[in-house]
Subunit: 267 residues, 2 copies
């Protein structure tokens, strides 16, 4: 195990947090805490969905969160102020050309960003240049090819495939999770370590069924209906059947599986 | 959480278990130990592949291992004696009509068996009748729909699908892992709890790449070539390309994912 450098990777210390790991936030974030005084770059903060957790879990770290969208940065800043957190500074910027000096951060954090990029490998290389030698990167991405469920359904898989196809046409990769290891290695990181975080929801875990299967995953797939139909990727009746079948997996005898990948490496 | 009876369970522990397990045996078995003096039924022991681990991990338990094949039972017995284990008694028997009195066991263990049965639900019901009230069942099954990898390959998925199709034609279900929860609930077990055990192999984990991706999973798929081709399920060139692509995932930049499901319930 080359995890000594992963700050806060202390199972006992985090058991209390993880006992409540009925939510995605716990599953993905609870073992990411950065030390007091450390300089952390969050690359691609969007509207701050992950920033609040990041800032709460590392209250003594000095976080700089950037996003390419000025509007998103403003939203993220409102969110973090509303949460009463003061350890984050926001800045608009392109992940491929950020205005920071070399080696000016101890840690970089990237969550749900690489999936949207045409050149995720280049982004990882650039981000490495901002890390001091020995500094770490933490990357979290999903993988839509990891979704399977009971009852099984070709229509549901076809609906999910619409999202994969749309993301691909936009230059991204909705199956990127499984590739984090080679991407980090190719970008020059050392001691690369990838930890899959599988979400498994059955009716004994109602928080995950609602919070993840229904309101996160299925809602996201539902959201691409118009684009997918307009672009002729799927027949609307098939798509609607797929969504119906995804909801079917949230009934008492249904199950749903999805895996996120958390990758770490050293500069 | 109805997991008090599951030794060592919590989500954090589950992540640790998955990250640190270097072998399938660790991943699947390390949290299954039965107390001194307990009466354990292993239903469907085959040639004893799991029996050795089961007996080693519960040295004080009194295990009865049964299989429908007399020949397999003999092989299993040789294996357990060769391992110097004395806490297992073997017996030939059909899982649907075993010669045991009601409530004569404290625990039932079933591993890689339900996937082969036409009526797994009926088998689970029958097995429940041999458990004392409050006794537990532990079921481990794979799910071939959980296999995905980098580089991705349609041919590799088609080769895997051959195994799924052949198992289905034989009355089994190679996708049964995802269904353990509803199967156990429908069979009348209480406090059902399913814990997915994901195998994630990249080149930082050479034991898993060799021990699982190559020598377990890909070897198993390779083994169905003749049947799949003879039955016209796949073109031989496509199958061979699929196997080649599965081996491709074991190169330094490859990754491989597969998930087993471990289900538990109380009689």
């Amino acid at each position: 195990m080359n995890t000594a450098y992963v700050h806060g990777y202390n199972p006992r210390e985090n058991i209390r947090l993880q006992d409540q790991a009925t939510t995605l936030v716990d599953l993905l974030h609870s073992d990411t805490t950065f030390p007091v005084g450390s300089r952390v770059l969050e690359a691609g903060c969007g509207v701050g969905a992950q920033t609040v957790t990041l800032a709460k879990n590392s209250p003594g770290a000095s976080i700089v969160s950037v996003d390419i969208s000025e509007h998103s940065v403003e939203q993220a800043e409102l969110k973090i102020r509303a949460a009463g957190l003061a350890n984050v500074r926001f800045q608009q910027g392109d992940i491929l050309q950020l205005p920071f000096a070399s080696e000016s951060f101890d840690h970089v954090f990237v969550c749900f960003v690489l999936e949207h990029l045409k050149e995720p490998g280049t982004a990882l290389q650039k981000l490495k240049s901002y890390l001091r030698p020995g500094g770490t990167i933490t990357v979290i991405e999903g993988d839509h090819g990891s979704a399977y469920f009971h009852p099984d359904s070709d229509a549901a898989q076809a609906a999910i495939q619409c999202q994969v196809e749309l993301q691909s046409r936009a230059g991204g990769n909705a199956l990127i999770g499984r590739s984090l290891y080679p991407l980090l290695v190719a970008a020059g990181y050392r001691d690369v370590w990838v930890s899959p975080r599988m979400v498994y929801a059955d009716s004994s875990k109602p928080e995950l069924v609602d919070g993840f299967t229904k309101n996160t995953f299925t809602a996201m797939i539902e959201g691409v209906r118009q684009s997918a139909v307009e672009k002729g990727i799927i027949d609307p009746a098939m798509f609607d059947k797929g969504i119906e079948d995804l909801y079917r997996t949230t009934e008492p005898d249904g199950t749903f599986c999805y895996t996120f990948f958390k990758g770490m490496g050293k500069a």
